[in-house]
């Protein structure tokens, strides 16, 4: 049986084409994925991300536990409301999940992690928490989550939900959160646009969704969510990374909190030795301007990046509506650099593509 978010009836009412995603019935689009994509780049769109896992960690020892749990350093969170992106690793340095942790107060941190990894994550965190005195791991299935993203997302959210919200959130920098009544409002997102991620009681979700729609915020499905995050060069768990891949190999070096040297975290020893030897693979961006679409699992060969045949594999690929051509993230040997040429096997046909720096798109504009 598939799970339904509190917004399920709204999706049906608004013409959502529903698909199973990690056991949840979610809208893949509401008519046209490309129009939805463009609405987020040019105006404002909203996503139901209630399927994601919200976990509150409460108690005096939570910060201590997070120092051990997360590859990024939770001590970067000193201002209340500040958010941090991090991977959670196994002892081999493989990525168990990627997540955002919010610092609410000294006894309360909130983690938002993926839907497909919910049970594994909770189990892992609970297990680790046993070694700490005062840590309560509290799942929050009672909460829903709506992401409002796009250049006009903030203004339209204020128009829909009232000016009290403006007062508390207008001065929030990116990657912060504020609590306003029942609403937890964060300036985070997965699109490369400005906007909010709003965590709210499930029973208030349908009402809030409708108020946003009434102000012209368009409902957006998972299809456009994927092309938006791909243009923004954001990794997707299960595609660009998994338990067999370390952050060093997933283009996520920047999320590892190496300093201080004496902070022990799960996976640190493995990462240290991998760093010393040099990771054999990384993620590169490629762009293909010809006819045809780059897709996951297609093979890429980098002819001028080393002796012999140097091969990679597309981990995320698709059509970029903003660039009007195809783009992809490729797991490639570490020797491959932006600017080099490559060939992609698209359904048996070899086509020429180019290695580029990603992100591909930020704030509505091409980065290329």
């Amino acid at each position: 049986m598939s799970l339904k978010t509190p917004l399920y009836d709204k999706h049906i009412e608004m013409g959502g084409k529903m698909v199973d995603f990690a056991g949840w019935l979610m809208p893949v689009h509401f008519g046209s994925q490309i129009e939805e994509h463009n609405a987020v780049r040019q105006d404002a769109g909203m996503f139901d991300v209630s399927h994601m896992t919200v976990t509150d960690l409460k108690g005096a020892d939570v910060r201590d536990m997070l120092r051990l749990l997360l590859a990024n350093n939770v001590d970067k969170l000193q201002d209340k409301g500040k958010a941090l992106y991090s991977c959670m690793l196994n002892s081999d340095g493989g990525i168990l999940d990627d997540l955002i942790v919010y610092y609410l107060d000294d006894n309360w941190f909130r983690i938002v992690s993926n839907a497909a990894t919910r049970e594994k994550d909770i189990h892992w965190i609970e297990n680790l928490a046993k070694d700490f005195g005062d840590v309560a791991v509290i799942e929050r299935p009672d909460l829903a989550m709506i992401a409002v993203q796009g250049p006009n997302a903030k203004e339209k959210t204020y128009a829909a939900l009232g000016d009290a919200l403006r007062e508390h959130t207008e001065s929030l920098k990116p990657f912060y959160a504020a609590t306003v009544g029942d609403l937890f409002i964060a300036t985070t997102g997965y699109t490369g646009e400005t906007g909010f991620e709003i965590i709210l009681p499930g029973k208030a979700a349908a009402f809030t969704w409708q108020m946003l729609a009434d102000k012209g915020v368009k409902p957006i499905g998972l299809g456009a969510r994927d092309t938006l995050r791909l243009e923004a060069g954001m990794a997707l768990y299960g595609s660009d990374m998994d338990e067999t891949i370390s952050p060093l190999e997933a283009g996520l070096n920047w999320t590892i909190g190496w300093s201080p040297d004496d902070r022990n975290f799960v996976g640190r020893d493995s990462l240290e030795s991998q760093k010393k030897e040099g990771a054999s693979h990384g993620i590169v961006g490629i762009i293909f301007k010809g006819k045809g679409i780059l897709r996951r699992h297609q093979e890429v060969s980098f002819s001028d990046s080393g002796p012999g045949s140097v091969l990679g594999e597309i981990t995320s690929g698709g059509f970029s509506p903003t660039l009007n051509c195809s783009i992809a993230l490729v797991r490639a040997p570490a020797t491959v650099m932006p600017g080099s040429a490559c060939q992609v096997n698209i359904r048996g046909k070899m086509v020429d593509a180019e290695v580029v720096k990603y992100p591909f798109v930020r704030n509505g504009k091409s980065c290329l």
Partner: protein, 131 residues
């Protein structure tokens, strides 16, 4: 509900066939197929003069979601292809049965038409796979 015009013939693989007054046949993909695939972003068409064999792949449509082969519903020679959909693949989404046609075929054998599905049979097939 998908649009399934009564005057057309269909295949299980979601192509439609219109028999023209001059005996040629125009072929495209159905409304149901375009709906399953989502926004079209790329179309690869056969070339004029190509000979098609029944059931063999003869074109490719790619949407934001997936790539799909188009199979020749009938054998014959390509007389004309729709360049409009090469430039603007979204026309297939907007108008799969008229502006979104893919190619026109000179049939090798008119009797082959009898093997195609009528609208009712095609509707039954898509209803049974929707369950």
């Amino acid at each position: 509900m998908s649009d399934i015009p009564g005057e057309l013939k269909y295949t299980k693989s979601h192509e439609w066939v219109r028999v023209n007054d001059d005996g040629s046949a125009t072929i495209g993909i159905t409304d149901h197929a375009q709906d399953l695939m989502g926004d079209m972003v790329y179309v690869e068409l056969p070339e004029i003069g190509d000979s098609l064999e029944t059931g063999k792949e003869c074109a490719v449509v790619e949407s934001v979601k997936a790539a799909s082969d188009v199979y020749a519903p009938l054998a014959g020679e390509i007389l004309e292809v729709n360049e409009t959909i090469s430039e603007s693949p979204e026309v297939i989404n907007q108008d799969p049965y008229v502006a979104g046609w893919m190619f026109r075929l000179q049939l090798s054998n008119n009797e082959a038409l009898d093997a195609l599905l009528d609208a009712k049979a095609y509707e039954e097939i898509i209803n049974s796979t929707d369950q």
